[in-house]
Amino acid sequence: MRTPNRHDLLEFLTRHFIWVVLVFTVVVFGLTIKGYLGLANIANILITGSVLGVMVIGQSLCLMARKLDLSAEGTVSLVAVVAAWLMLPYRETDLAQAGGLGVELDPLIVIPLILALGALIGFVNGFMIMKLNMNFFIVTLAMQLVLRGLALAISEGAIMPGTPAAFNWLGGGRIAGIPVSVIATIGLYLVFGFVMSRMQFGRKVYAVGANEDAARASGFSPARTVILVYTASGFLAALAGWMLLGRLETSVPNLGIGLTLNVVAAAVIGGVSLKGGEGSIIGAFAGVLFLAMVNNALNLMNVDPLWVNAVRGLIILVALIIDAQKTRYAGRAGPSAPTTTVVADADQNAAVS
């Protein structure tokens, strides 16, 4: 046994960095912004954070598997439009407002339908990436375009207001004064936190993300694992779409646009590495809280909207810098981390013996 040294401390700090930052943020904003820690504002933070939060779970799974899902925001757009279209009564498009298809399906039918649609989209992503050997970045980017395009085509670019109350419960309802969306999001974090840390599936995702070859040689099927990860990501994106539409009660065809960067940022801020195989769901949760708090503070401080994006971008960059340093540090600490070398193969593996 050895006693903890400086490296352990460094590793501990980089791993749990986000919690330190989170406490610091609460204290600073709490002291400087009036009403920041009031119940109404906390509820506000949590409600806006919940859609982001649900999407971050799916994205975190993808990142842990060393992949990325750029199509998730497109799934949000599409399921919102499809749900409204199937539920609302028909009406002539007027002043860029439209009605539905006219079938007026019951929300209890529509909800499982859109969740299944999300899962299917994710499955198709995963299948193309793992079975057809396509690049995940391009596949999910193209998929995003397809989904967004479909959402626009179906809605004809019009908004569809007035989704039924039963449907809106998840996004806008409250139980004992607590928003349902917040309860649901926290519940999902508990479930996925457990899945990733204590179940076989989680173990495989980390293994595949950290080293796909070794995972295969350990008897895992990377294809199956990654396809499942994307399916889960699609499902969660659909759930986020349901939640968001329920909160707004109006389908907007470009719902969710631009969410991806925030989602990835929250996950990375929470310690989920872009390089795969690392991070935790609970960390990602902290990342979501942090980002939701900062967004809220920027609002309350009346920061010039022209500056908001710059500030956000900066935060994301800082998170990425920390992520890059973390992996670099890990690489250096390893006694025999693979090094790039131009020495011929014959001796490459034997170089240290």
């Binding site: 179940m199 980390y206 070794a214 295969r216 890990a330 011929a344 014959a346 170089a351």
Partner: protein, 512 residues
């Protein structure tokens, strides 16, 4: 560059490396190595895999940093060694797999980054082709410069790479296994070209496993073993047997394992062939038996190991385990059939380095650790991990340590633990002692011994002939895809020199 003015004198030292040492955590890769090359000589550098050749060359090229020692070129000591300073000093490396811009023409490859332009600022193709053609003919190299590099033979590419190095004022060129993929005709072509450059005063370091070629082309040869320089000889002072003896060494403390082979056949491979990899491979393993298979790179041993574990296609032929047909479609099915494989490339296939010892040890047996609803049973998992940490003597602060932070030997033990946890009937070990220190080697041999006593049939693929002799009941030699020779304790013919000669494809009556 230093201009001496005088004609180069042949006996003058060009490169002088002294007292070079290099350690990696737990491993001494180089110990006090002295290595010198004269002007205009072809100097062979031989040694088994892992002898330290590539570390020494890496230091010479400035891509690895020596812990101690000095490098002098033409008497001038270099104070810092970066890849650029080494290139400036006239040292150039030609790898086994040549790096050229394959879709561009020979001329473009020669003048890349420095293409002549016409007065409109566009590339002057006429000048490009004429200039490069002229340069090549000065070296006596006949190539059509308008031809894309991808159309060249391997020998032509190698010569082109050497030519490019010479255009950059190289004085010392390292050739790493240049003939590995060449026919005899091409070898003659290449050697002719190399000798012509040697006449002009260029020096070469020639790294090869093919000893007869070393005798054919080299003036002197330096032998390395276990990170040390064993000796340097003029080529006309020694013969192949001497050289092999120097490479293998003698009088080293040896590990001797007692045979535990039973009678029951466990694993039978019959007439297994895979195009381009191996042909008509047949052998059988008994319960508790340990056999070694050895061969050069490209002899098919590596492919055989990966094929038998389902990492690659296995090819056609019959393989049975305890009488039942065995056809692994994936490592998963291999594990299920009772076959486990320790990969040569531990970092790529063996370990998930970012994850903990506990996770790595239990990857192979996760299915058995799953309780209700797919939840892993923490206590069982912990118990298995601790059992193997204890049994195999894995030195780690705890089961939660990331495997990345362990030493090479302990990493290897973690991979062993992962395999042993599946309780395999057949264990395929690919260079199990590579990249680990001496103590860990002995530990690993003890693990192999213990497993064989428990009845596991073990197949070790290794180029460490002495280790194989100490461990194995039989040793098979593979050459060009076939098993060409068998040595065994029973026949009392496990002589390291004979085995190494067979590995190099030397004379011998193929009896398999």
């Amino acid at each position: 560059m230093v201009e001496t003015g005088a004609l180069p004198r042949r006996d003058m030292t060009l490169l002088d490396m002294r007292g070079i040492s290099k350690s990696y955590p737990g491993v001494k890769a180089l110990e006090d190595a002295d290595f010198a090359v004269r002007r205009g000589e072809i100097h062979g550098l031989v040694g088994k895999n892992g002898a330290g050749k590539s570390t020494l060359m890496g230091i010479l090229m400035g891509i690895r940093e020596a812990d101690s020692g000095t490098i002098a070129i033409e008497g001038e000591t270099l104070h810092q060694a970066s890849p650029q300073t080494m290139i400036d000093a006239g040292i150039s490396y030609v790898p086994q797999h040549i790096n050229l811009l394959n879709t561009l023409t020979v001329a473009e490859n020669i003048l890349v980054g420095n293409l002549p332009k016409n007065r409109f600022g566009l590339v002057d193709w006429k000048a490009v082709n004429e200039d490069s053609q002229a340069r090549l003919s000065r070296l006596g190299l006949k190539l059509d410069v308008r031809q894309p590099v991808e159309g060249l033979s391997v020998a032509e590419r190698t010569m082109l790479a050497i030519a490019k190095a010479l255009f950059n004022d190289a004085r010392l060129i390292i050739l790493d296994e240049p003939t590995a993929a060449l026919s005899r005709v091409d070898i003659d072509l290449l050697f002719g070209f190399v000798r012509a450059q040697q006449e002009q005063g260029v020096a070469f370091i020639y790294i090869s496993h093919h000893l007869e070629e070393v005798f054919e082309i080299c003036d002197r040869v330096t032998v390395m073993r276990d990170g040390r320089i064993v000796g340097m000889r003029a080529i006309n002072e020694i013969d192949v047997a001497d050289l092999i003896h120097m490479m293998v060494g003698g009088g080293v403390e040896e590990y001797q394992r007692e045979s535990s082979a039973g009678h029951e056949l466990v694993f039978e491979v019959q007439d297994l062939s895979r195009r381009g990899a191996y042909e008509h491979v047949s052998f059988a393993l008994r319960r508790g038996e340990v056999i070694g298979i050895s061969g050069l790179q490209g002899s098919g041993v590596d492919e055989l190991a990966q094929g038998l574990f389902g990492l690659e296609r296995m090819g056609v032929g019959d393989v049975t385990i305890a009488g039942e047909a065995y056809r692994p479609g994936s490592p998963k099915s291999a594990f299920e059939a009772g076959v486990a494989y320790l990969p040569q490339d531990r970092h790529r296939y063996g370990l998930v380095q970012l994850r903990s010892v506990r996770e790595n040890v239990t990857y192979s047996v996760l299915d058995r650790l799953v309780g209700r609803l797919g939840v892993l049973m923490r206590q069982d998992e912990q118990a298995i991990t601790e059992e193997y940490i204890d049994k195999l003597g894995i030195v780690t602060p705890g089961p939660e340590q990331r495997t990345l932070l362990l030493s090479g030997g302990n990493q290897q033990k973690v991979v062993f633990a992962k395999l042993a946890a599946t309780q395999p009937a057949v264990l395929i070990l690919h260079e199990p002692s590579q990249g680990v220190d001496v103590q860990a080697k002995v530990d690993i041999f003890n693990i192999i011994n213990d497993l064989s006593r428990q009845g596991v049939a073990i197949m070790i693929i290794s180029s460490e002939v002495r280790e194989l002799i100490g461990l194995c009941d039989r040793i098979l030699v593979m050459y060009e895809g076939r098993i060409t020779k068998e040595f065994s304790r029973a026949a009392d013919n496990m002589q390291p020199e004979d085995i190494l000669l067979a590995i190099e494809g030397g004379p011998g009556d193929a009896d398999a």
